[in-house]
Amino acid sequence: MLEMDYSPLILSLKVAAISTFFVFVVGVMIAYYVAKRDFFGKSILEALFLLPLVLPPTVVGFGLLVLFGKNGWIGSWLLEWFDFQIVFTWIGAVIASIVVSFPLMYQSAAAAFESLDERLSNAARTMGASEWRVFYTIVFPLAWPGLLAGLVLSFARGLGEFGATLMLAGYIPGKTDTIPMAIYFAVESGQMEKATFWVMIIITFGFSLILWVNWWSKRNIRRFTRT
């Protein structure tokens, strides 16, 4: 067995978990708000949300550096007021991961909310339910299969994020070395055994996640789709 440093695994899980949490909360909120409404510029806004999905990772990474770099718009402000630096920290990896996985969460959530029968929410309203109660007793549980798919996709995307992360978080062994970075630099330096090890880990993770979601949704689909 290889002498292995497992810190990339811990870091990757930490980064993906935290970014998925934010992406889920914010993505669900924004998607619920936008899906229910029609307003001027809605499709432009939605295109903007989905943009990170089609941009090359290095472009996203460069954009993030412009925003969060030491001399960036937000970065310089954070540094000045809170003495807080994002670039070259694991927080940078979280931010990169949030930006690239947000479109997946938003897309899934918006589709889930749009397919809901508005009459169910209305029925709840006539029975005295507040908007908040309508959301957490009716909308959220019924949209859950779609939301879960978005959640898992976001997590998997966060786990695999490389390009933008490398630019914003840099590669600092022990601090910002996620699994994809470990793989990249292992391949680059010809450490094929190490690379294979991490590739197996990440494939196992991604595969079992998708397998589990498919199994789960097949098992529960009846309860959620039939009336």
Binding site: D117, R119, L120, N122, A123, A124, R125, T126, M127, G128, A129, S130, T137, I138, P141, L142, R222, R223, F224, T225, R226, T227
Partner: protein
């Protein structure tokens, strides 16, 4: 008891409706697109008229230039077309959804009675997709009445049922009305059904009342 005056610009015509009713069964009849459901939705607070007045007993639901009362504060029972039961909740959870926490105890007896009258006690732990069409209709009715509404709105309540079940349900509706003594507004496009159920029938076309009929043998309560 219920005063309705609605003016609203719709896609193809302007709706202008006015009627008053007591604790009777009012049936709205008309071709599809004549504005029947819009009237129910306006009373329930799911859509709002451009102008007019909707008052139930002492509560003003809608008055031109005032902020409309939100749907959740109107105490309306609404049986939707196809019932709109919550698919992820058991029949029991569906029925209790609209009962306020503080009213749980007081409502217990009433709901047990309601379940008996409708004959659905044995369905409590089933999910909506596990019960038949007629049973769904009864669950929807129980759910609408469980929150002790001051008005009951029914949108095509029987249209999804076969002939036999439909007859049975009509009788049930009449029986429930005897018990509850609140205004029932029923929307249908079936004339026979309207005549069987209604104390009063209002005929609608293009958002206007074209005719009104009253059953002679019944005495209006207002």
């Amino acid at each position: 008891m219920l005063h309705v005056n609605i003016h609203k610009q719709l896609a193809h015509y302007e709706m202008a409706i006015q009627f008053k009713m007591g604790a009777e069964i009012l049936v709205l009849v008309g071709p599809s697109g004549s504005g029947k459901t819009t009237i129910l939705n306006s009373i329930a607070g799911l859509v709002h008229p451009d102008s007019g007045l909707i008052v139930s007993n002492t509560h003003t639901f809608f008055d031109t230039d005032q902020k409309p009362l939100p749907a959740r504060e109107r105490q309306i029972g609404y049986l939707f077309q196809d019932y709109a039961l919550f698919p992820h909740m058991t029949v029991e959870k569906n029925i209790w959804y609209g009962v306020k926490k503080k009213n749980r105890k007081d409502s217990q007896k009433m709901i047990v009675e309601l379940l008996q009258v409708l004959g659905i006690e044995h369905l409590l732990h089933k999910y909506p997709h596990q019960v038949s069409g007629g049973e769904k209709q009864r669950v929807g009715l129980a759910r609408a009445l469980a929150a002790r509404p001051s008005v009951l709105l029914l949108d095509e309540p029987l249209s999804a049922l076969d002939r036999e079940t439909r007859k049975q349900c009509q009788d049930e509706l009449l029986r429930l009305h005897e018990m509850w003594k609140i205004p029932f507004i029923i929307v249908t496009h079936d004339l026979d059904e309207a005549e069987r159920l209604g104390d009063r029938i209002i005929y609608l076309e293009q958002g206007q009342i074209t005719d009104e009929q009253r059953k002679r043998q019944l005495i209006s309560t207002y």
